[in-house]
Symmetry: C2
DNA sequence: CATTGTGAAGCGTTTCACAGCC
DNA sequence: GGCTGTGAAACGCTTCACAATG
């Protein structure tokens, strides 16, 4: 067992940006870029350089004054901090339109989140194969979670079934949920939930779109990760 | 022409929550609930009652002390404020896995965002019909945007094509973009962008999941809209 | 001497607490 | 009496500005 050292508490807003930095740094590494300044990374991430420096400072002092940050090293540090040193198998509940698209989308596994299973409550959907995974009955959830050590579940059901899906996931032992259903999930204390809600996103855009009429401007923040309007 | 009255500036964080309140209020209206207190709405939305009151106060003083808020009236006011009094046709760029799922997902149109068109650059994808809409070539974008008065575009392309998609959308006259590609889009000042990035969401969950090991607790915020861990 | 790392100021959001009102 | 509306306090995040430094 490796000894866990004391972990600094990283602000939520920073945690939400680290994945963005990570993606950019990996791209830069592929382009054989060895060093990057806070200024350079900020540009690519669409944020302010001071923010980049502050964010990275939570990981430790890994930059070199006058030079910048070593790309490969930063990639390593961010991966470690985000817990991306190993895979996190996920289980998808709901084999409808969205569940299928998610399971079929290869990017999941590539990025360290292999689909350990797809389950549905509808017998008609069973045994079809999506993205190389056979759809199983929701009653198999516990077994899948146990055997594959799943700790992240994805709710891709219709709204009416979402709370039940979440309850089942929690009962099966899942402690993080990514919710695509337009429903506020109730989960026990200690379970993390993040939601992705298309209608909400569009309605937010609608608000700024409406304001645009007769006004000349608008800047718009976004999902924690600070992307907005930009040039 | 209706006279536009002076519009209060609503904080971004509040704008992101209004769609959630709206959805809940519509549900309550369907359940024939006539009045709701800030406490009640807060419970259903998974937020604090004071926040609900402050949020709603930006719309005006529409509550009744000692009673609460009239559900139907609030629905109307939030709709108006969000610009949901008319439809906002959207155009989807990218007819791959995700683009198809989005176009096929009926919820779009129902919620006031009918799919005015789906375009792709790949000739092989043309003319297939998704969700009742025929896939057209990306060169038709301008024509679609013009004729259908589209101001919101959805980028559902692979990452490498996302910036080009955004550029084309902007050239066609779109002023709001919902981006599903894991890429930071550069857009001219005045164009709103919101992004939905599955990998980022999963990586954020990974962070808290990792922290969980050996610790006993965690609360986790989310996409501007304040859903977190709860009981 | 370019660039990091970081106190301190600034700003937006949340929460408290209570006066105001039905 | 119960619940809203809102100043004011508390909090967290962002940005500034500059000393530290390879």
């Amino acid at each position: 067992m490796p000894v866990e050292r004391v972990r600094r508490r990283i602000p939520e807003a920073t945690v939400a940006r680290l994945p963005v930095y990570l993606r950019i740094l990996v791209e830069q590494a592929n382009l054989e870029v060895e060093n990057i300044s806070s200024e350079g990374l900020a540009e690519l991430a669409g944020v302010n350089a001071a923010k980049v420096r502050k964010d990275l400072s939570y990981l430790g002092s890994y930059g070199t004054r006058g030079v910048g940050y070593e790309v490969a090293f930063l990639v390593y540090q961010i991966r470690r901090e985000l817990g991306l040193t190993h895979d996190w198998p996920v289980v998808i509940v709901g084999a409808g339109n969205l569940g299928q698209a998610l399971a079929g989308y290869g990017g999941f596994g590539e990025r360290g989140f292999p689909v350990a299973g797809v389950v549905d409550i509808d017998p008609a959907k069973l045994d079809s194969v999506i993205g190389g995974v056979r759809v199983r009955h929701i009653d198999d959830l516990g077994q899948i979670v146990q055997s594959r050590q799943v700790s992240i579940g994805v709710v891709a059901t219709p709204p009416a079934a979402a709370q039940d899906a979440a309850d089942r996931l929690v009962r099966a032992g899942v402690t993080s949920i990514l919710n695509f259903a337009p429903v506020v999930l109730g989960v026990p204390h200690g379970v993390s939930v993040r939601k992705v809600d298309l209608a909400v996103e569009l309605q937010i855009l609608s608000y700024y779109e409406q304001r645009r009429v007769g006004v000349g401007f608008h800047a718009i923040g976004s999902n924690d990760s600070g992307r907005g309007a930009s040039a």
